[in-house]
C-alpha cells in the first residue's frame, strides 16, 4: 500500500485509518502464508495413468494407495506426473526432473537408486478351477494345452516364463499378449487373465499382482499358483523384490521413503492383501 498516494478510494479519514490497519493485517497474513508454503512439501511421483492394479489417474491402484501413505508420513502433498510405463519412462519423467519417485520397480534396477523392497511377488500360473492344476514348468501337460504368455518384445527382452517355455520347446500352442495391451481401453494388461476365464486359453503365465487383481474380477473361479522352479536355468528369476526408485544421486529422498515404507509396513501389507497381490515374502499373505 502507498499511504502517501492520492486517495484513490475516496474514503473518509477514519475509514482510511481502518483500511490501512486492515492492509497491515493482510500483509502479515500473506507473510504467514508464504512461510507455511515454504514448509509445505510436495511428493512428486512418476506413474502410469492407465495401469491397474498398480496405478491410474483416478488413484485406484495399490501403488496410488501406498504413495499416499508415504506422502502422509513425509508431511507432503502428493502430485503425479503421468506417463505410460514403457521404454523412456524413467528418462522422460524422473530424469527429466518432472517428478522424484517411481513407485513399482524391481530392486536394484540399474538406472535407479532403489529403496528396500516392500514386497516380493512371483510369476504365477493362472488356470480355471476346473482346469489342470499346474505349478511347474516341467509339468508334461503344458505340451498339450493352450498357454497365454505376456510378451514384452523390447528387442531381445522377454518375460522369464516365455524364456522358460522356449527353453523346453513348449512353443506349439502359445498365444502372446503384449503387456502394453490396447492402451485406449481400461486395464490394458487384463486381456490375458480374461482369456483364461473365457476359455480362449487353458493357462496363462502372468506376473503375480496382475493375476491376483484381475483373477478376482472374473465371473468364473480361477486358480493361482506361483511358478516353479523359482529360478529357471541360468539367470532366469521368476520372483522379484519390488522397491521404489529415485534418481541415483537422490540419497536423501531414498532414505525418507525407506523409513516411511518400513514404519508403515503393516498398512502397506494390508493394501497389498486387499488387492490380492500374491506374496512370497515372509509378511505376505498366503497365495490362494
Amino acid at each position: 500500500m502507498c499511504s502517501g498516494c492520492p486517495d484513490a478510494f475516496g474514503l473518509s479519514l477514519r475509514r482510511r485509518k481502518a483500511f490501512q490497519r486492515l492492509m497491515a493485517w493482510v500483509a502479515a497474513l500473506a507473510l504467514l502464508l508464504a512461510a507455511a508454503a515454504a514448509e509445505a512439501r510436495e511428493l512428486r511421483v512418476c506413474a502410469d495413468p492407465n495401469n491397474m492394479p498398480f496405478s491410474n489417474t483416478a488413484g485406484q491402484g495399490f501403488e496410488n494407495k501406498i504413495a499416499s501413505i508415504v506422502a502422509a508420513e513425509l508431511g507432503a502433498s502428493l502430485t503425479y506426473t503421468w506417463w505410460a510405463q514403457r521404454r523412456g519412462f524413467v528418462r522422460n519423467t524422473l530424469k527429466a526432473g518432472l517428478c522424484d519417485l517411481v513407485l513399482g520397480t524391481p530392486a536394484n534396477v540399474e538406472m535407479l537408486r532403489t529403496t528396500t523392497p516392500y514386497y516380493r511377488s512371483s510369476y504365477v500360473f493362472v488356470t480355471r478351477q476346473d482346469g489342470p492344476d499346474i505349478s511347474s514348468f516341467n509339468d508334461p501337460r503344458l505340451r498339450d494345452i493352450r498357454i497365454g504368455v505376456q510378451l514384452i518384445g523390447d528387442d531381445g527382452a522377454n518375460s522369464p516364463p516365455v524364456q522358460a517355455l522356449g527353453r523346453r520347446g513348449i512353443v506349439g500352442r502359445l498365444v502372446g499378449y503384449p503387456v502394453y495391451g490396447d492402451y485406449s481401453a481400461p486395464n490394458p494388461p487384463a486381456r490375458i487373465v480374461e482369456a483364461v476365464a473365457g476359455g480362449e486359453i487353458d493357462l496363462a503365465v502372468v506376473w503375480g499382482p496382475l493375476a491376483g487383481y484381475f483373477a478376482a474380477k472374473q465371473k468364473v473361479p480361477l486358480r493361482i499358483r506361483p511358478v516353479a522352479p523359482r529360478i529357471d536355468g541360468p539367470l532366469l528369476p521368476m520372483v522379484y523384490d519390488i522397491s521404489m526408485g529415485v534418481r541415483r544421486e537422490d540419497d536423501r529422498l531414498r532414505g525418507e521413503v525407506d523409513a516411511a515404507l518400513s514404519k508403515h509396513k503393516t498398512e502397506i501389507d494390508a493394501v497389498l492383501a486387499q488387492y490380492g497381490v500374491p506374496r512370497l515374502d515372509a509378511a505376505g499373505s498366503p497365495v490362494r
Binding site: D48, N51, W83, A84, Q85, R86, R87, G88, F89, R91, N92, K95, A96, G104, T105, P106, N108, V109, E110, M111, L151, I152, G153, D154, D155, G156, A157, N158, S159, P160, V162, Q163, G166, R167, G169, V171, G172, R173, L174, V175, G176, P178, V179, Y180, G181, D182, Y183, S184, A185, P188, P189, W207, P209, L210, G233, P234, L235, L236, P237, Y240
Partner: protein, 624 residues
C-alpha cells in the same frame, strides 16, 4: 511444374555413355578382410568388361534442379545432375542461410525443394515449414502444426524422428509420429486431408517418408517390437482414403498374395506361408513392419519395399522362417498385389530389420543386360537382385559379418553361423553386425558417372552377456545385456564407395562415430555426407579425398540434398541435429553409465556427449 528461366548449367543426362572410371586412388581400405570375423563370401561374378550401370530413365528422369522426394527419384539414386559445384570449387562453399527448426531432437528428414520453396518436416511434434527461397534469408512462407498426441513419444522405439515429406501435384504429403498421413496445399500449408492410419494405443507409430506413385501415397508403420503387425497402405492422393493394405504377416489374402505371386525361390511358394512358418497365432503380433524406403520401377510397374524383423517373440518361441518378415516384396502399385518376395534373413535372431533403401539400376550381368536392385542390407551384405524376378545375383559383405557365413546363391538362403546364436543367459561375444546392422536406415547414393554406391554405415559389433532385469507396464522382465563395441579397426563408422561391377569397395573412409546420415552424389564429382560430431563433408566421388568440410551446430543424421535455386545457382542443404537410435544418448539424454540403454548403443557412444549437443538447424550452402 515451375518455369525455370535460367539455363541448365551444363548438366548432361547421366548414363548416356559408359564412363570409364579412373582406377581408385591409393586411399583404399580393405574393410571386409577381417581376421577376427571369418566369413565366406558368396562367389562374386566378374563381368567381362566394365559395364555401364545406370538407373532406368523412367525411374530417374532428367534433373530439373528440384528435390521432390527424399530419394530424389523413384530409382532412389540420390544423385543430382547439377555440376556447378564440382571437385575443384567445392572448397569455396559458404553458408547461404540457416534456419532453426525449433525442435532439438534427431533430424533425419530430407528437405524438399519445389519451384522456389523449400519444405522441412521436424521430428515430433512434426512441424512442417515452407521457406521462400526467392527472398533473402529464405523467410518462412507458412508453418503447419499437426499437434500429434504427446503419448506417441512413449511409444516410439528410438527417438521421435521423421524422415521427410513427399511432393506431388501441388501437395505436400507427410506422416506424424502418432499415425496420421496428412496432405497439405504446398502453396498455403492448409490441410487438404488427414487420414488416421496408425494407432499409438496398439503400439503403432509412423516415422517414414511417404512415396507417391500413380496417385497413391504409400505409407508403412513402425512398432514391431511392441507386437504391432506390419503393413503398407496406399492412400488415394486426392482424398486420402485407403485404397489397399498389405500386411507383413498372416494369410495370403492379408498379404495380398494371389495368382500373380511368382517368387523366384521354392521356399517362398505355398499357401499361407505367413501363417504356417510361425507357431499358431504368433503371426498376429509378428512384426514385419515397413518404416523404411520404397522404390518404384515405372517400366515393370512394380514398387519394392522391405519388411522389418519379426517381433515381439524371442526366436525360440517362433520356430520357422517367420514370413514375410525381414525380406523384400515387389508389388503392383495399383492393387498392392505381391509379385515376388525374397527373405534376407529367415528366422531372424539379431533384429535385422529389412527396411533399407533399394537402388534400381540397369547393368550388364555376365554379358547380359539385367534390371537389378542393389541394396546394402542390415545383415551386412550388399545384395544385387534381379528386380523382375527376385533372384539373388550376388551378396557380398560390405563390413564385418560373422553372424552368418554367406548367402547360398542356389537357394538364396542366408547361411547362419551357429556360434553366434544368442540366447538368454548365454554369453556370446563379438557378434557382427549389431542389431543396428552394418547399415541401418541411413540411405546410400549412386552415381552413374562413377558406377559407385556411396554407403554411409556402421562398423559395430556386440557382446551379449547374460541378462539384466527391467520393468515395463508393471511387469518385470529380463533383457539381453547387450553392449555394442567398435568393429575391427576401432572406428565406429565408415563411408564406403562400393563398386558394383567388381563387388569390392573402391575406397572407404573411417569415421569415429557411426555414419548415421544419408548421402548425396552429384555430377560435379562430389559426394556429401555428415558425421555425428557435426561435420558436413564433401569428398571426391572417385577417390574419397576430403575436399571441404563445415562444422554445424550439432551432430548430423539427416539426408543431404542439392538443388538449383531461383537464381539459377546450385545449393546444398542438410539438417543438423543429433539423435536417432545412435544419437539417443544426446537427444534423449540417456545416462552414459547405463551401458545397456538404447539396446546397448549407449555403451559404444559414451563419448558422443562430449562432442555434440542437441540441435535442429537447417544449413544451406552455395558458392560465393
Amino acid at each position: 511444374m515451375p518455369q525455370w528461366t535460367e539455363k541448365c548449367l551444363g548438366e548432361r543426362r547421366a548414363g548416356d555413355a559408359a564412363t570409364a572410371r579412373s582406377l581408385p586412388g591409393s586411399r583404399i581400405l580393405a574393410v571386409v578382410v577381417l581376421a577376427c570375423c571369418p566369413f565366406l563370401t558368396a562367389a562374386s561374378q566378374q563381368p567381362a568388361a566394365i559395364p555401364a550401370i545406370a538407373p532406368p530413365a523412367s525411374a530417374a528422369p532428367p534433373d530439373d534442379g528440384q528435390w521432390t522426394m527424399p530419394a530424389k527419384n523413384y530409382a532412389s539414386t540420390r544423385y543430382s545432375e547439377l555440376s556447378e559445384i564440382n571437385e575443384s570449387n567445392v572448397k569455396n562453399l559458404q553458408v547461404a542461410f540457416t534456419f532453426s527448426t525449433g525442435v532439438n531432437k534427431g533430424q533425419e528428414a530430407a528437405p524438399l525443394v519445389i519451384a522456389n520453396t523449400m519444405y522441412i518436416v521436424t521430428p515430433f511434434p512434426n512441424f512442417v515449414y515452407a521457406l521462400d527461397l526467392s527472398k533473402p534469408g529464405a523467410p518462412i512462407k507458412w508453418k503447419y502444426e499437426p499437434n500429434p498426441e504427446p503419448a506417441a513419444q512413449g511409444v516410439a522405439c528410438c527417438d521421435v524422428v521423421n524422415r521427410g515429406a513427399a511432393f506431388s501435384d501441388g501437395r505436400i504429403f507427410f506422416n506424424t509420429l502418432d499415425g496420421h498421413t496428412i496432405a497439405l496445399d504446398a502453396n498455403t500449408g492448409k490441410p487438404i486431408w488427414n487420414t488416421h492410419i496408425g494407432n499409438i494405443n496398439m503400439g503403432e507409430t509412423i516415422t517414414m517418408a511417404p512415396l507417391v506413385v500413380k496417385g497413391k501415397v504409400l505409407v508403412g508403420n513402425s512398432g514391431g517390437e511392441m507386437g504391432v503387425r506390419g503393413w503398407v497402405k496406399a492412400l488415394d492422393a486426392g482424398d486420402g482414403h485407403v485404397v489397399w493394405t498389405a500386411f507383413g504377416t498372416g494369410p495370403d489374402k492379408d498379404v495380398l498374395i494371389g495368382p500373380d505371386f511368382k517368387p523366384h525361390y521354392d521356399v517362398d511358394k505355398g499357401k499361407d506361408l505367413g501363417v504356417t512358418t510361425w507357431p499358431p497365432e504368433a503371426w498376429k503380433i509378428g512384426g514385419g513392419n515397413m518404416w523404411g524406403w520404397i522404390s518404384y520401377d515405372p517400366d515393370l510397374d512394380l514398387i519394392f519395399h522391405g519388411t522389418g524383423n519379426p517381433g515381439p517373440w524371442n526366436p525360440d518361441l517362433r520356430p520357422g522362417d517367420n514370413k514375410w518378415t525381414a525380406g523384400i516384396f515387389a508389388r503392383d502399385p495399383d492393387t498392392g498385389a505381391a509379385k515376388w518376395f525374397y527373405q534376407w534373413t529367415p528366422h531372424d535372431l539379431h533384429d535385422y530389420d529389412g527396411i533399407n533403401e533399394q537402388i534400381l539400376l540397369d547393368m550388364n550381368w555376365q554379358g547380359k543386360p539385367r534390371k537389378v536392385l542393389v541394396r546394402p542390407e542390415r545383415n551386412g551384405y550388399l545384395y544385387v537382385l534381379d528386380r523382375a524376378t527376385g533372384e539373388v545375383l550376388s551378396a557380398t559383405p560390405y563390413g564385418p559379418v560373422n553372424s552368418s557365413k554367406g548367402v547360398d546363391l542356389k537357394s538364396g538362403r542366408l547361411i547362419e553361423n551357429p556360434d553366434k546364436k544368442t540366447g538368454t543367459g548365454k554369453v556370446v561375444r563379438n557378434i557382427c553386425p549389431t542389431a543396428s546392422g552394418a547399415k541401418d536406415w541411413q540411405p546410400s547414393a549412386f552415381s552413374p558417372k562413377t558406377g559407385l554406391i556411396y554407403i554411409p554405415h556402421n562398423n559395430l559389433c556386440m557382446d551379449e552377456e547374460g541378462v539384466e532385469v527391467n520393468y515395463i507396464a508393471g511387469t518385470p522382465y529380463v533383457g539381453m545385456n547387450v553392449r555394442m563395441i567398435p568393429g575391427p579397426g576401432g572406428n565406429r563408422g565408415a563411408f564406403t564407395a562400393w563398386d558394383i561391377a567388381t563387388a569390392k569397395p573402391a575406397w572407404s573412409l573411417k569415421e569415429n562415430f557411426p555414419v548415421w546420415s544419408g548421402a548425396v552424389a552429384t555430377a560435379g564429382n562430389v559426394v556429401f555426407y555428415g558425421t555425428m560430431e557435426g561435420w558436413f563433408k564433401a569428398v571426391n566421388a572417385e577417390t574419397g579425398d576430403l575436399l571441404w568440410q563445415f562444422k554445424t551446430s550439432s551432430g548430423i543424421i539427416g539426408q543431404p540434398i542439392t538443388y538449383r535455386g531461383p537464381d539459377g545457382h546450385q545449393y546444398v542443404a542438410i539438417l543438423s541435429g543429433v539423435g536417432g537410435w545412435a544419437g539417443a544418448i544426446v537427444s534423449g539424454d540417456l545416462d552414459p553409465r547405463d551401458a545397456t540403454a538404447a539396446l546397448g548403443f549407449v555403451n559404444v557412444m559414451k563419448d558422443l556427449k562430449n562432442v555434440t549437443t542437441p540441435g535442429g538447424t537447417l544449413y544451406v550452402f552455395r558458392l560465393p
